[in-house]
Amino acid sequence: MSSWVRAAALWLCTMTMTSWAAPLPEGLADLGRVATEGELAAWDIDVRPDFVGLPPGSGDVWAGEEIWLAQCASCHGDFGDSNEIFAPLVLGNITEEDIATGRVASLTDPAVTRTTLMKVPTLSTLWDYIYRAMPWNAPKSLSPDEVYALVAYLLNLGYVVDDDFVLSDTNMVETQARMPNRNGMSLDHGLWSVTGAPDVSGSSCTADCDVAVTVTSSLPAYAMNAHGNLAEQVRDWGPYPGLWTETGTGRETAAEPEQLAAASAVVEAVVAPEAALNAGGCSGCHQMAGQLVGPGFDAIRTKYAEQERAAYLRDKIVNGGAGVWGSMPMPPMPALEEDALQQILAWLTSGEE
């Protein structure tokens, strides 16, 4: 056994006892290299609640509104209130009282939709998240100033700041002091640590236990098929086949496995250039079938089934435009690689099913 292997074995054996106190196996320090300043700057973009990590910059509500309408409204609605793509970010339901106490009172009301702004206690979170992940289909494309402006706009939509507000690295602390739910979080629970104390405990009774056994909730008959026909979701041979929940078919038994297998084996004649669509960021707005933000690719392919339409579509994809499918604009996609664009155009205009 080489000394390295012995050292590694020793390290692993000791690890379960005092994992970090053990010496490193010999030679291990040669694996990995020092990260450069540039690399740290590129990846270490997180912003903490105490604003450690926040880059300098500023943006006002008006600039925020402009960016919002161009890059965010298509999914979140003009006022951040859309429920189409994701749950509403803001609705006009935060009160002066909430801002004064730092507790959103309506969180106790089951009838009130819980928006993002009603929950988020920390301003840093909005900044960090928008900078790292939004817009959803083009994350990491915003500059710090744009993010300041967008956060200012969202806070303005929630009546947290005025119309002429400018958010910057210098007033984040005082703005944090107005976050409507800043005092709404609790760390008083046992679920952070493996050794934490539980808040609920079960019963150890094993015979003649005093428990209620009335059925108080079950799925109504009309909802049994809401997840599709259960007979087709469970192994259809063996002791417990699935219930046939599709009504009006008069079918008692599931389809023959051979038929199901044959159906799933049908290979698409023309394969969608998924890699290109994903890399191009198209999938954030278009899905294969059915409207998302933009029309479904099935509808587009039906409409533009002839190769002559490729030039038109090239122009539309590269330069964007609106009005063909509705008022929602398709943004210009100039960064799409030529190869990917050609694959997409060939597929869109192939006319094959």
Partner: protein, 445 residues
């Protein structure tokens, strides 16, 4: 000792049905249409010579009439270079819950627990939860960075990580929102949708403690780690350093192969016992820190709303939970008689100590048989004999873990947490068996 062939254990290959001349001809010329028909008649003749005898009243035709697969040549090797399940198992796939999410990229697919066995989830059936779609990462271009409160911020290539001492461990992975749809009332029909954000795999990777040791982390100040993904969402979660040093892994292996892309290929964090969202996929960075980060999925989601309007933040541990997977909601018992009630139990705080099963809604309980190995923070399979005589029944299971914690009933859980917390619903599940054998998801009160 006689060879196997002499003992008659090796069956003659089908070629020996063919004449020697024909075989030589084929190997010289290949199969053309003329020879193909010759071949077919040769096989037909061979089949006819062992044709079915007359069927008697008690005879099972599936035994007596030899099926085609017993009378024909099977498919060649590597017909599927990556093996696929039998076509007869086509029903058993991951599924979405319609209307649960508004897009397919920030969404969930559920594991078909009702038809799985044992304590491991096949990788292709491991549930999915993505926030910004899943990505195909080129492992040659993937890096892991370790920074923050360390002597030296480091960068590792995948090649380097695969050279390091590795461990393989079996653990469950449960989304904090598993069973979240059922807080208020029964909302879904089957165990796939009620409990299917649960999977378990053998994960292989490098202990986080080793990597932190290599980077020289600040033992005095460090209390937390930030884990960050390389996908568009660059998912971030604050990890308790205590957990991380104890048994967390930076994993690349899953059930003997590399991670599936939907599960984080080529690298993910494994934080045993902790909810799935913290097992950051496509892991690109670990930052050592002294204060939590309050990331989006630690303030707007994965926070548990209490009846007084506060949200519990940084709820991480998956407390002990169990569920009967068969028979379960949406299935039907076809006959009366013996059944093996089976299910899964697990605890984020240790091992499964005991599972009990009730068939009368929790009035009386019997111990279930636990199948080994019983591992910490892994799934444990349980079984319980049951003879069903056509009566109505209310099936439940209840786990006790190695800390002595007992899984609560729904009433006990709701009394403390209310019905709106979305996350960490580990209540006892009830399946109602009707007199006609139909099994339904119900709640009792």
């Amino acid at each position: 000792m006689a060879s196997d062939a002499e003992q008659g254990q090796l069956q003659p290959a089908p070629e020996s049905f063919l004449s020697k001349d024909l075989v030589e001809d084929i190997s010289r010329e290949g199969i053309n249409p003329g020879r193909r028909s010759l071949l077919q008649s040769a096989f037909a003749a061979a089949a006819a010579s062992i044709a079915a005898p007359a069927l008697m009243a008690d005879d099972d035709p599936d035994i007596v009439n030899l099926p085609t697969w017993t009378r024909s040549l099977g498919k060649p090797v590597v017909a599927n270079p990556y093996g696929q399940p039998s076509p007869y198992e086509a029903n058993i796939v991951r599924r979405q819950s319609p209307g649960l999410t508004r897009t397919d990229q920030s969404s969930v697919s559920f594991t078909p627990l009702q038809n799985l066995f044992g304590m491991i989830t096949p990788s292709g059936l491991h549930f999915e939860r993505h926030h910004q779609g899943w990505v195909d990462i080129d492992p040659r271009r993937h890096r892991l960075m370790i920074n923050g409160l360390v002597d030296t911020p480091l960068v590792f290539t995948m090649e380097e990580l695969l050279r390091m001492p590795s461990v393989s461990r079996i653990h469950f992975l449960e989304c904090g929102a598993n069973t979240g749809l059922e807080w208020g009332n029964v909302a879904v029909p089957t165990v796939q949708y009620s409990h299917g954000m649960l999977s378990a795999s053998e994960f292989t990777g490098v202990p986080v403690s080793l990597l932190l040791e290599r980077a020289g982390f600040d033992r005095k100040r460090a209390t937390v780690l930030l884990a960050e993904g390389a996908d568009g969402s660059s998912m971030t979660r604050t990890i308790n350093l205590e957990n991380a040093l104890d048994d967390a892994l930076v994993a690349y292996g899953q059930n003997g192969e590399m991670l599936r892309p939907e599960n984080g290929y080529p690298l993910r964090l494994v934080v045993p016992g902790v909810q799935g969202v913290s097992w950051v996929k496509w892991l690109r960075r670990l930052e050592v820190g002294d204060k939590p980060w309050a990331t989006k999925d630690e303030v707007a989601h994965y926070v548990d709303l209490m009846p007084d309007g506060t949200h519990r933040q940084y709820t991480s541990i998956q407390e002990a939970k169990s569920v009967i997977t068969a028979p379960s909601g949406g299935q039907k018992l076809l006959k009366q008689g013996y059944y093996d009630i089976t299910g899964l139990a697990w605890s984020g705080r240790g091992t499964v100590e005991k599972v009990e099963v009730s068939v009368d809604g929790g009035r009386n309980w019997r111990p279930a048989r636990l199948e080994g190995p019983i591992l910490p923070k892994a799934l444990t399979r349980f079984h319980c004999d049951w003879v069903w005589q056509g009566e109505e029944a209310l099936l439940q299971s209840r786990v006790t873990d190695s800390t002595g914690y007992i899984q609560p009933s729904r009433a006990q859980l709701v009394a403390v947490r209310g019905t709106r917390s979305i996350y960490h619903n580990n209540a006892i599940q009830t399946w109602q068996v009707h007199a006609d054998g139909e099994v339904h998801n119900v709640q009792l009160g």
